[in-house]
Each structure stands twice: as structure tokens, then as C-alpha cells.
């Protein structure tokens, strides 16, 4: 698994993802994707009511096979376009090992690319 420490990815705190589509559009514009194509896509769970009366209503952005973690932008010193613009500020870009250290609560996921 030692290779994994050198991999890069995205850490998502999906407790606060509001489903605003910004990552999707930021990616689409950066990569000039055609209609129907996405480099990252927001998935939705709910709303559904739990037995305790509370509601489950969660969004989570999932990178697709078209995601290259914005290699060109990153090479130029910038953040991936989705991370730069995420309105809820829930996306972190970095080395997988460093991202793993940031996981300190439920509702966090790391996507490795």
C-alpha cells in the first residue's frame, strides 16, 4: 500500500455539501465537456424520514473517470477548479495520506484518482 501515500485525491465533508452544482459546472468549464458529460457528479440520498423522525437528505459529489484532478491547473500552482469554487467549502485537494489525517468526524469521504 506504500504507493497509496503518493496518490492524490479529494476529501469531501459531505455533511455540508448543499448540492449547488458548482463542482459539476466548474469541472465542465475547465475541461470543456460536452452536454451529458461530467467530471464530477453530485449524488443525492433522500430526503427520506428516519424512524426517529429526523430526515436524511445528503448530497455527495463523486469524481468520474473524466476527472484528472485538474492536472493543468495544479501544474500551474492552482487548486482543482471544483475545490477552488466549492461554495460550501467542503472539498480538500491533497495527498491521500495527508487527507486521511484530516478525517476527524463522520460524513467524510476520500476519493482517490
Amino acid at each position: 500500500m506504500s504507493n497509496n501515500t503518493e496518490r492524490y485525491g479529494l476529501l469531501i465533508d459531505y455533511e455540508y455539501c448543499s448540492g449547488c452544482h458548482v463542482c459539476e459546472v466548474a469541472c465542465k468549464k475547465e475541461h470543456d465537456l460536452t452536454v451529458g458529460q461530467w467530471g464530477i457528479k453530485i449524488h443525492q440520498d433522500g430526503p427520506r424520514q428516519l424512524d426517529n423522525g429526523r430526515w436524511e437528505y445528503t448530497y455527495i459529489p463523486v469524481p468520474t473517470s473524466l476527472c484528472d484532478l485538474c492536472a493543468d491547473r495544479v501544474k500551474g500552482g492552482k487548486l482543482p477548479n471544483c475545490v477552488h469554487h466549492c461554495q460550501a467549502g467542503v472539498m480538500v485537494y491533497g495527498k491521500i495520506s495527508e487527507l486521511a489525517e484530516k478525517v476527524d468526524k463522520d460524513t467524510m469521504a476520500i476519493f482517490s484518482r
Binding site: 452544482h21 459546472v25 448530497y59
Partner: protein, 778 residues
């Protein structure tokens, strides 16, 4: 945990412009159109031809902190759109035929000047009216042009009945406390959140009648609340639908649309009777507490919960949670305005803020003015009116708040009335600047369409050819978009500049149109040296006593924060005389509004509850025929009102108009998910696609607004399908409250049934444009 702080700031200098490869980067502020109410800071990247290639959020911006919404990210698509208006167009066919001739700006100005002079001479300048859409960066240009060049006193939002968007809340706040107030997310200081030495995350935020992450309305970025949630804020959400924020809230109050005042009154009853209010603030700073206390006794939590279709426990719990929170904060929205009792609703909610001691404290609701106190809104240039003209403003004779200047616009319904009846004087020319009323802003859109058709001369200034332009305009003028304008922004703080970095064919800045027309029509009303929009800005800054020029603000990074103080009423910062207290007749925060009483009880001085004009309880017989409560006007991420329907990306995400319905109701009415359906009431009908939503009360449906279809034929009778999916077919005009404010946009009744080939032979647009309407209007 802090996020998104990993920007490489070496790449983002705090200067106005820099070069990045082949592209020029300009760091400035965005303001519609196209857009929204906000003024985020971003970086426009233009190529050597001045064409916008891409945008990025400015990481150095305290306002949006590098982030942007999808509508800014798709800006290049819109600014370079092939369908943008490129040059002035003169109508050559009949109105509605979509036949135009390209003319020069000089020819356009000549036509305008000729008409203006004719109307001025024959029926006076008051026969010319100017209107705009919501929150646009045109109010200063619109006002200055209308007052100085045309000489008429009427400026308003385009046929928005009861001025029912923010204006009711603003007018109420002025009579109640002499200021506007805004939920405090530390946005008025450069150091945000924990970097601000005074700000505290509210313990409880009531999100009332808006979905901030989507709407971002009234110059408030919804995701600021998400940042506050990360810092510990708990939410109470008042919304008929479970929004994403409602799902994250401790308490979700799923109220019946239009019952916000009942909820607020019930909460006041609990807080007062359980002695949870802030005695110190109430004793020192409020007027009329005993009257309020007596008034709320009839509004028991039991009765109010029943009216609101919520359970009493939740109402009581929400009241206690807010009253006990230190600080507590209310982020209110459009639902407050869009009820016939909008003023009363706003008053009841502000009474909560006041008696709980949450006014003008860190993390509460803070008092704020326009940046640098510049008159850059609807009233810009009003002092250029000739003596006696201001008094002719439509609606001023009927509505006392307008007469005495608490409302800064004409009363919209009164303008419609004057167009229709010629009383109190004829209205013959209409100037529509960035407004598309028949697609969006006008209640009873078919009636407004018919009224404007009868006018003698109509000018539309916009970004694209809209349904309003095709149906009604004699001249269509192309407006510059945000990055093609030099401007300043004074809506709250900071004071911001917009620095021009592109052009598009012959599109012009709104202020430039005013300057050019001024040279023809009223040179004596303008300083001789004002020739460009930059001159215009520097003139207004100078006139307002601001110690900086536009260039100096740009040199400061394009934004200047004024010192922001809390508890200004304690420090003598609210009143003209410099004394402590509020800028009201009593000097207090008026729970009992003395102005209403002093003007002859023009409106109740205390908040009250009244059923919407049509509802399950006010019109039970009618409700049998129209057995659903219909609400509309909520926003989508992809659109700003009627904008962005021609954006490929927005439409990819959101192709068609959707209405929300509970699956139980759908089954009852024979509707399946994804089906086109008719929504109808006694006024007319419109069609949208059913989307199931298990979080709604099955008695409530929720329809989208602002839809037209640029992909459809422009000419009538198709007219971009503007009336086909338009909820304004079923919303009345003239259902405002006693002060002329408010409209029942959010609380209608309707029935719903599936579209079939048989019942869809005539589209609503054909019905309106070809067959004279739905038959209910006069």
C-alpha cells in the same frame, strides 16, 4: 476545521489587473446582469480581443472567499452567446411579429428624444414611466435618466404587485426602527468569522421563508450560513418544503404557505407569556411593549399552530429556542413580502428580534445603510425633478408611506391602474430597463401584457431578445453585461468598484445611455464634464461627499470597508440629531408603530393575522373547486428569475419547469411523476412537470416561476411560450395590504390535472396573444 484555505496566493495579487500567459486578468466585482443580488469578487480572464474566456472566484475576497456559484462559472457562455442583442433595433412589423431593423445609437436616441418631447408637451413628463427588474445594477441609471432626462416622477419594479420583493420589509423597518437590518454573518467586516474580534456564531438561526443557499437574495450569500453552521449554529427552518437546510435543522416548521405572520404572533405569545424576552432592551429601547403584550394574547400557540398546519409543540419549541439563544438571528426572505399582510408579517418577525434583544449585536440582526450613504438606488437623481412633479408620483395619493417617502418607488399596481384607466393621469410611454415582466415579475401577466400593448411607445433595454421585447417594444437596446461596465456598488458594505474589461458589439452601459440622452434632452440637469460612466461614478461619489474617486477605490483593491459598529442605537449613530436611540418619532424601536397611528390609522399599529384572500378558510367554497394551496417564487440554482433560460449549462441541469407535489396528492388527482400537468384557478392556467416530493404537506403544491423558452418561436402567437408555464397567469394584481404593500404570491389556491392531447389544444400563450386572454380580466 478550516477549509479552502489552500489557495496559492502568489498567483492572486491584490491588484486590479495582471497578465497570466496570453490572458489579461481583471480583479473586480460582479453585478447583474446576468446574475443575482450579490456582488461577489471575481477575476475575469480576457483574451487580446477583449473576449471573456473564463472566470475565477477571487481568493482574496472577504465577501465570497474565492467561491462562486454556477451562474458566474458559466458567464463566458452567456456573455459570448450568439443570441445576445448586438445593436439597437427598431420595430418594423406589428408588435409581436418579431420584425426588426438595425439602427444606429444616434437614430435610437433621436426616436426616443422625439417621443419624450411629444409626451412632455402633450400630457406632461408624468406620462412617462420607468421600470426595472429586481436587484439589478441599473437603479442609479434608471432613476437618473427618468428624473433628469424624462422629468417624470415614476420609477418602480416592473408590475410587481404590492412592490412585494424586499420593499415591504424595507419600508416596515424604516417606520419601525429607521434602518434596514440584516442577519449578521460578519459580512460587513474584512475579517470574517472567528477572525473578527467581535462576531459570534449565532446559537440559533431562524431561516424564515427563503432557501439561502439557492436564492442568495438581498445581497446575502446563503453559504455564509453554512460557514456559521460549521461554527456551531443550530437552525430552525420555516418552509413548506424540506429544503436541504431544513433537513440539517434542529426544528423544521412546515408551515402552510402564507401563514408566516400567524407563526410569528404565536411565537411572540410564547416568549412574552413565558417571560423569555430581554427585559433590559424592552425597557430601555422599545415603545409599545404593553400594547404588544395585550395584542398577542389572542394569538395562542394552539390556535396559531392550527392555522399554520404545524404542531403546537414545534411552535413553542422554536420560540423558546430563539428566545434563549445568545445570540439568535433571523435570516428572512421573500415569503415575508409575498403575502397580502406582508407588512404585518415583517413587523411580527421584527418584534421577535427586538424583544429578544437580538438587534444590532454580533451574530444577531444588524442595522445597516447603503455604503457611504450614497443615494444610488431608485431615488438617484430625484432632486432634479421640477417643483410639483414629485407629488404626481403614482400611488402617493393613496398610500401614506409612499407620500412621506418611506417607500422609494411608485406603487406598482397604481401604475397599472393609470395605464388601464388614464387616471389620475395618462401613462403613454414605458421604459423597461433589464426587466422582463410578462415572463417573470408581473402578477396577472396576461393583464399586464394587454395593458402595455395599449401604450404608445415602449423601449426595452436588455441582454437578450425577451418575450417582453418581442411582444411590446418599439425599440430594443443592447445592454452591457457586468464585466463590460465601469460602475460602483453601494448596496450595504463594502463600497465596491466594477472595472470594465470587455465590450460586446454595440452594447452600452446603462449609465452611458442616460448620459447620451441627457445631452439631447436635459443638458442643464447634468454637469458638463460627465461624459463617460466613470465620470458618472465620480460625480455621484463627489456629490455624496465620499472622499475617494473610483480610481482610488480601485487602487485599494476595488473595495473599501467602512468601520462597522454594533449597538449603534446606544452610541448615537442612528439618529440625525446624534442622540442615542432609533430614528423614529419616539426614538425607540417601535413595537407599536406610531407613524401608522399618526397618519390616521392607515394601517394597524400592531401586528395582526389575517387569512390570505383565497384560502381553505377564507374561501371554503372556492377551495372545494381548487383544493390545493399553491405557492411559487422559490429559486433554482440554475436561474436568476427569468434569466439563464438560454444558457446551455443551466438548461442541461434544469431543462423544464417543475412543480412539486406529494405522491398522495398526485395519486388522488391521477398524476404520475414526470408528467406535464395543468395548474388552474379561477383566473387561468399554466403547465409544468410533476416532481414528487414526500416532504410537502399533501395539500400544498409548489410551482416554479420565470420560465420562457428561447428555443421556441419568438413571434406571436408562440412568443417563446411565455405564458405556457407562467404561474403569474393565476396570481392577481391589486390584492395588497392597507399600506399598498404585499401580494398573495405565495398563498394561492388551485387545482391540478394531467395534460392530455384533448385539453392542451390551445396553449396559454395562444390563449393570451390570439384569443384575448382567459376571459376573467376586464
Amino acid at each position: 476545521m478550516k477549509y479552502n484555505n489552500a489557495y496559492n496566493f502568489d498567483l492572486y495579487p491584490k491588484t486590479l489587473r495582471w497578465q497570466e500567459g496570453d490572458l489579461t486578468a481583471t480583479r473586480t466585482t460582479m453585478w447583474s446582469g446576468p446574475g443575482c443580488h450579490n456582488g461577489c469578487q471575481l477575476i475575469f480572464y480576457t483574451d487580446k480581443d477583449g473576449k471573456l474566456v473564463k472566470v475565477e472566484g477571487d481568493p482574496n475576497s472577504p465577501y465570497n472567499q474565492g467561491r462562486l456559484c454556477l451562474r458566474c462559472l458559466e458567464l463566458p457562455e452567456i456573455t459570448n452567446h450568439q443570441d445576445r442583442l448586438k445593436w439597437p433595433l427598431k420595430r418594423v412589423g406589428e408588435r409581436g411579429e418579431n420584425k426588426w431593423e438595425r439602427i444606429s445609437w444616434d437614430e435610437a436616441y433621436d426616436i426616443i428624444a422625439e417621443n419624450v418631447r411629444k409626451f412632455q408637451k402633450e400630457t406632461g413628463p408624468e406620462s412617462i414611466v420607468s421600470m426595472m427588474g429586481t436587484g439589478r445594477n441599473v437603479s442609479q441609471a434608471l432613476g437618473q435618466n427618468q428624473y433628469a432626462n424624462f422629468g417624470g416622477p415614476d420609477v418602480c419594479l416592473a408590475f410587481l404587485s404590492g412592490d412585494s420583493c424586499m420593499n415591504p420589509r424595507v419600508a416596515l423597518c424604516y417606520v419601525m426602527m429607521g434602518n434596514i437590518n440584516v442577519a449578521d454573518m460578519s459580512q460587513f467586516r474584512e475579517n470574517r468569522y472567528e477572525d473578527d474580534s467581535e462576531w459570534a456564531a449565532p446559537e440559533n438561526i431562524i431561516v424564515w421563508g427563503n432557501n439561502p443557499v439557492v436564492s442568495n437574495s438581498d445581497c446575502f450569500l446563503g453559504h455564509w450560513i453554512v460557514e456559521s453552521m460549521k461554527r456551531g449554529s443550530k437552525l430552525t427552518v420555516v418552509d413548506p418544503k424540506l429544503t436541504w437546510m431544513a433537513a440539517k435543522a434542529d426544528t423544521w416548521l412546515r408551515i402552510r404557505p402564507g401563514t408566516d405572520a400567524a407563526l410569528a404572533l404565536g411565537m411572540l405569545n410564547v416568549i412574552i407569556n413565558e417571560d423569555l424576552y430581554d427585559h433590559d432592551f424592552v425597557e430601555k429601547w422599545t415603545h409599545g411593549f404593553e400594547e404588544l403584550k395585550a395584542c398577542v394574547q389572542e394569538y395562542t400557540p394552539e390556535r396559531m399552530a392550527e392555522i399554520c398546519w404545524i404542531n403546537k409543540h414545534d411552535l413553542v419549541d422554536a420560540a423558546r429556542t430563539y428566545a434563549n439563544a445568545k445570540p439568535g438571528c433571523i435570516q428572512w426572505g421573500l415569503a415575508v413580502d409575498q403575502s397580502k399582510i406582508g407588512i404585518s408579517t415583517a413587523q411580527a418577525i421584527m418584534c421577535l428580534v427586538g424583544i429578544c434583544g437580538n438587534l444590532d449585536i454580533p451574530g444577531g440582526n444588524v442595522l445597516i445603510d447603503q455604503s457611504a450613504n450614497l443615494n444610488f438606488s431608485y431615488g438617484c437623481g430625484i432632486d432634479t425633478l421640477e417643483p410639483g412633479m414629485r407629488e404626481k408620483r403614482l400611488g402617493d395619493d393613496k398610500f401614506i408611506l409612499k407620500t412621506y417617502g418611506f417607500g422609494s418607488t411608485s406603487q406598482s399596481d397604481s401604475v397599472l391602474e393609470a395605464i388601464e384607466t388614464g387616471l389620475p393621469h395618462p401613462v403613454r410611454m414605458l421604459w423597461l430597463q433589464s426587466a422582463n415582466p410578462i415572463a417573470n415579475m408581473a402578477q396577472d401577466a396576461p393583464r399586464v401584457y394587454k395593458a402595455i400593448k395599449s401604450m404608445e411607445f415602449v423601449v426595452v433595454i436588455d441582454l437578450f431578445m425577451t418575450p417582453t421585447a418581442v411582444a411590446l417594444a418599439d425599440l430594443v437596446l443592447p445592454a452591457a453585461m457586468s464585466h463590460e461596465r465601469d460602475c460602483i456598488r453601494v448596496w450595504y458594505d463594502p463600497l465596491r468598484t466594477l472595472s470594465k474589461c470587455g465590450t460586446y458589439y454595440e452594447a452600452k452601459e446603462d449609465e452611458q445611455i442616460g448620459i447620451d440622452l441627457g445631452k439631447r434632452l436635459a443638458p442643464h440637469k447634468w454637469p458638463e464634464w460627465v461624459n463617460t460612466t466613470r465620470d458618472f461614478m465620480n460625480w455621484k461619489l463627489q456629490e455624496g461627499g465620499v472622499p475617494w474617486t473610483m480610481e482610488e477605490i480601485e487602487a485599494e483593491g476595488g473595495m473599501i470597508y467602512h468601520p462597522f459598529n454594533y449597538k449603534k442605537y446606544e452610541k448615537g449613530l442612528c439618529r440625525m440629531d446624534g442622540e442615542p436611540g432609533f430614528n423614529t418619532p419616539t426614538g425607540k424601536f417601535e413595537l407599536f408603530i406610531t407613524v401608522f397611528e399618526a397618519f390616521g390609522n392607515v394601517a394597524p399599529s400592531l401586528p395582526y393575522w389575517e387569512e390570505p384572500p383565497e384560502s381553505p378558510y377564507s374561501t371554503p367554497e372556492l377551495f372545494k373547486e381548487y383544493p390545493l394551496v399553491l405557492t411559487t417564487g422559490h429559486r433554482s440554482f440554475e436561474f436568476f428569475h427569468s434569466e439563464h433560460r438560454n444558457s446551455k449549462t443551466s438548461r442541461e441541469l434544469h431543462a423544464n419547469p417543475l412543480f412539486d407535489i406529494h405522491p398522495e396528492a398526485a395519486e388522488k388527482f391521477g398524476i404520475t411523476e414526470g408528467q406535464w400537468c395543468w395548474i388552474e384557478n379561477r383566473m387561468g392556467r399554466f403547465r409544468q412537470i410533476a416532481r414528487f416530493d414526500i416532504t410537502l404537506d399533501p395539500r400544498v403544491i409548489r410551482a416554479e416561476h420565470g420560465w420562457w423558452f428561447p428555443e421556441k418561436e419568438a413571434a406571436e402567437p408562440t412568443l417563446f411560450g411565455v405564458f405556457d408555464s407562467n404561474p403569474n397567469n393565476v396570481i392577481p394584481q391589486f390584492e395588497y395590504g392597507p399600506t399598498g404593500y404585499g401580494a398573495p404570491v405565495k398563498s394561492l389556491i388551485a387545482k391540478v390535472y394531467a395534460c392530455t392531447e384533448e385539453n392542451s389544444k390551445i396553449t396559454p400563450t395562444e390563449q393570451v396573444t390570439k384569443l384575448g386572454g382567459f376571459g376573467y380580466v376586464k
